[in-house]
């Protein structure tokens, strides 16, 4: 157990009361309880309010492009399998702009942890609807209410048999921390859909709203059929906890090239290059 002060204290640009503050504390606690020091992990993010988290704790960080956090994150893990890799970004970044990468990451199953700060809104750009905004929700850019159906990330992830699928709520601090910890300990791609309220632009899905609805699941997370049913529930009740878990070898453990640790340490084998060249004779 490390002191969470190890990860530093930074001035943030988040609104006071934003759920992101709680997520940050949970992440630090999950790291501390696993004894992971700042230089021992990389945090990767995209762009949005959530994605700024990289700048608010001591870490190796890659703050990339909007929607593209998962791509560098998976490559970092493949290039250095000894690294712990965390990805954090918003619902818009991850499920909207980066939707294709989300699907591919589930299939690829690289051993990284994805924490989506799901506030069901675009926070940084001040209140447009996101893929998880509920139908009928009147947002800045949807004066008639959102017509589109919301994207259900956990149902999609379970349907695709993602290796680890969990949902939690930043306001249930212990639950959030423990869920992150479990996700990080899971050997494979792990999704944590973290409801984290945007107090400035989402007046529907508030702290009180989530608090009244989030209920811990009780099913066996290895039971896919039940997980599939539970994952589709969202509304009057929001199931939280580990919805689905299925262990299978992650890509970084399957590639023979990754077996000797970080790729950059491997010297160039000029004799092998020469042999390959002379094969063209």
């Amino acid at each position: 157990m490390i002191d969470t002060k190890t990860y530093g204290e930074f001035k943030t640009s988040w609104c006071p009361g934003c759920g992101n503050h709680d997520v940050l504390v949970s992440v630090k606690e999950a790291l501390a309880s696993q004894g992971i020091l700042p230089h021992q992990f990389v945090m990767v993010s995209g762009i949005g309010q959530a994605a700024k988290i990289v700048h608010y704790l001591k870490c190796n960080g890659f703050n990339g492009l909007h929607g593209r956090a998962l791509s560098p994150a998976q490559a970092i893990k493949l290039a250095n399998p000894e690294m712990t890799v965390l990805v954090e970004s918003g619902d818009g970044c991850t499920y909207g702009e980066g939707g294709n990468h989300f699907l591919a990451a589930i299939r690829r199953n690289v051993n990284i942890t994805l924490i989506v700060h799901d506030n069901q809104i675009y926070g940084l750009t001040k209140g447009q609807s996101s893929p998880t905004t509920m139908t009928g929700h009147v947002t800045k850019n949807n004066p008639l209410g959102v017509f589109d159906q919301p994207f259900n990330p956990v149902a999609v992830a379970v349907a695709m048999r993602a290796s680890f699928v969990a949902r939690t709520f930043s306001g249930f601090h212990e639950h959030a921390t423990q869920t992150i910890e479990q996700a990080m300990k899971h050997p494979g791609f792990a999704l944590v859909d973290m409801h984290s309220p945007c107090i400035s632009f989402n007046k529907v899905n508030t702290f009180a709203w989530y608090k009244a609805r989030c209920k811990e699941v009780s099913h066996d997370p290895e039971d896919w059929a039940t997980a599939m049913t539970v994952a589709q529930v969202f509304g009057e009740e929001i199931p939280i906890g580990v919805l689905f878990r299925e262990e299978r070898p992650s890509k970084d453990t399957q590639l023979p090239q990754c077996a000797d640790g970080a790729l950059y340490r491997k010297p160039v084998d000029m004799a092998a290059v020469k042999q390959r060249m002379l094969a063209y004779a």
């Binding site: 700042p38 230089h39 021992q40 990389v42 990767v44 762009i47 700024k52 990289v54 700048h55 001591k58 870490c59 190796n60 960080g61 890659f62 703050n63 990339g64 492009l65 593209r68 998962l70 791509s71 560098p72 994150a73 998976q74 490559a75 970092i76 493949l78 290039a79 250095n80 000894e82 690294m83 294709n100 990468h101 699907l103 591919a104 590639l255 023979p256 090239q257 990754c258 000797d260 970080a262 790729l263 950059y264 340490r265 491997k266 010297p267 160039v268 084998d269 000029m270 092998a272 290059v273 020469k274 390959r276 060249m277 002379l278 063209y280 004779a281």
Partner: protein, 564 residues
């Protein structure tokens, strides 16, 4: 005896043109001759009409040929399409079963007799051509054994039988077309541009390749796939080009030398990542193998129309270098250099190739691996980790450490940032950081490759070109000079940045200057004008998707030559 021998083979996709041409190329190169081949392929898997053109010489040969001594027609359509390209006299190989009216130079091969089954027709054709060219049977036998060993002894021996009876038939019934003699055959290799790029990358210690399949770049990724486990390279087929490029950036951040092979359409999707490489100062090598656009364009043809795309790709301003290989050697050495330059300048470096160069097999002497300078390394130290600043601006090149290597925390950021890598909005820091990044251009400028000049010192006609068309310019120049024209050519293998001192005197000393490019708007001439003010008015532009040849250039030069 010809000084050179020019050959064209045509047939439908799926008929095995690739196999025959591949085996023939290897046999010719193993016999010590120099060669260059050009594939003309339709974007389909079956049917249509493809052709392969081969130029063989006793000395190194340059561009693809325009006229031919021999046409090997694998389909009747091929006869109609190519008979006018035959030299006089020329030979046409056809199938006796087509019962074509006899014409001078036509040789009807009894494939039905020579090849007991249709699958053996290719080997029969190979045997006939091989015998006509005077190649030893052993040059084909060893290859057939390698090729079919996995399929069992019976298949190997059937193929060898067909080969030998076809060679025998040709010796008795077909005219001989002996290959140019070589006095002192040297050991040569045969490969295409993409294969040379793969070798260059491997020699540079490439460790990660992110790609999404797109002709004509795919074979680079495939070449790396086959080397991946042995050479320690992770080659990831991404879900799209955006992911491919962003993955390469992530891997590079983690210390792995990274390459991204693609073509124009795929590269267009990568441009935001190019910009990210610029601001985050991440070394990545992009290989853009051009094909004709816009959009899907002509998928299997060639063009040089993405110079401006690559030059301006990515929003914002940041330094970059663009290398444009002209030869197979360039493909190898410049790819190797690109990795070094990317690390030294901590940013994106581009290798701009094209379909012709990518797929044209050539003979080449083995690359000299001893002369390769070691690739620059990131900062693999960890002194004073508490105070490490990724974007330390004491020097334009900040120490680039690798996350997890030591205790230093490495922060890469897409926002404008301070020295540590944290988001800032302060105008002063912004300006200083932008100036720091732009100052890295000096590193790139310090090793810009000057264009290669050849020909008369004060030419009446100076041809200017870049990339894969340079070889043709050299050939045209030599031909003009033989005919008494004072001619020269200026060939650029680095198209950005440009250092005017290295070529302006050449442009100014020339009478008429002509730009020769594989595009419709003379992009390189435009770039020269923008950077130097020098206006090249005369152009020879090819944008029908076909490879530039000396014949094409000569024809277009006629009015200019007459006005000289």
């Amino acid at each position: 005896m010809h000084k050179e021998l020019h050959l064209i083979m045509g047939g439908e996709a799926g008929q095995g043109l690739d196999t025959v041409s591949g085996l023939l190329v290897k046999a010719v190169v193993r016999s010590g001759r120099h060669l260059l081949g050009a594939h003309h392929v339709m974007s389909r898997v079956r049917g249509g009409h493809n052709n392969f053109r081969l130029r063989i010489g006793s000395r190194p040969v340059q561009g693809p040929p325009d006229t031919f001594h021999l046409l090997a027609a694998m389909s009747q359509e091929s006869v109609d399409l190519h008979k006018d390209k035959l030299k006089d006299p020329g030979i046409i190989l056809v199938d006796a079963a087509w019962e074509l009216p006899a014409r001078p130079g036509m040789v009807a091969i009894p494939f039905a007799e020579l090849a007991s089954r249709p699958v053996f027709r290719n080997v029969a054709l190979l045997g006939v051509i091989g015998a006509m060219l005077g190649l030893e049977a052993s040059l084909f036998e060893e290859q057939l054994e390698e090729e079919f060993r996995a399929k069992g002894d019976k298949i190997v021996s059937s193929n060898l039988d067909v080969l030998s009876s076809s060679m025998k038939w040709a010796a008795e019934n077909a005219p001989s077309l002996p290959l140019p003699k070589v006095d002192d055959p040297t050991k040569m290799l045969s490969m295409d541009g993409n294969q040379a790029i793969v070798l260059g990358a491997l020699a540079a210690g490439v460790r990660f390749c992110g790609y999404y399949p797109m002709s004509p770049a795919t074979s680079i990724a495939e070449g790396l796939v086959h080397a991946a486990v042995e050479m320690g390279v992770v080659v990831e087929q991404a879900e799209d080009e955006i992911a491919a490029a962003n993955m390469a950036l992530g891997a590079a951040y983690a210390g792995a030398r990274s390459i991204v092979p693609t073509s124009g359409g795929g590269f267009a999707l990568m441009t935001e990542a190019v910009s990210l490489a610029g601001v985050s100062e991440t070394p990545v090598v992009f290989v853009v193998v051009q094909r004709p656009g816009p959009a899907t364009g002509l998928a299997t043809r060639t063009e040089q129309a993405d110079l401006e795309l690559v030059l301006y790709a990515g929003h914002g301003e940041f330094p970059r270098a663009i290398l444009a290989p002209a030869t197979l050697e360039d493909c190898f050495y410049l790819t190797h250099k690109a990795f070094d330059l990317a690390e030294k300048s901590q940013g994106p470096v581009f290798v701009l190739s094209d379909q012709y160069l990518a797929s044209a097999p050539r003979s080449v002497a083995p690359f000299d691996l001893e002369v390769l300078a070691p690739i620059a390394d990131p900062d693999l130290g960890d002194t004073d980790p508490e105070n490490y600043r990724r974007y330390n601006w004491d020097n334009p090149i900040s120490p680039r450490r690798i996350p997890g290597h030591g205790k230093s925390l490495v922060l890469a950021d897409s926002h404008e940032h301070d020295e540590v890598g944290h988001i800032i909005e302060d105008g002063g820091i912004r300006v200083r950081m932008q100036d720091k990044r732009l100052a890295k251009m000096d590193v790139i400028l310090s090793e810009v490759l000057p264009p290669e000049f050849s020909g008369d010192e004060e030419p009446d006609l100076l041809l200017v070109g870049w990339g894969s068309t340079c070889e043709v310019l050299r050939e045209v120049t030599a031909g003009l000079r033989e005919n008494g024209v004072k001619a020269a050519c200026l060939c650029f293998t680095q198209v950005w940045p440009l250092v005017p001192e290295t070529f302006m005197p050449r442009l100014e000393a020339a009478g008429t200057v002509v730009t020769v490019e594989g595009n419709s708007t003379a992009q390189f001439a435009g770039l020269l004008r923008k950077t130097t003010g020098f206006h090249i008015k005369d152009t020879v532009l090819r944008y029908d998707g076909r490879t530039l040849t000396a014949g094409f250039v000569m024809e277009r030069l006629q009015p200019i030559l007459e006005a000289l």
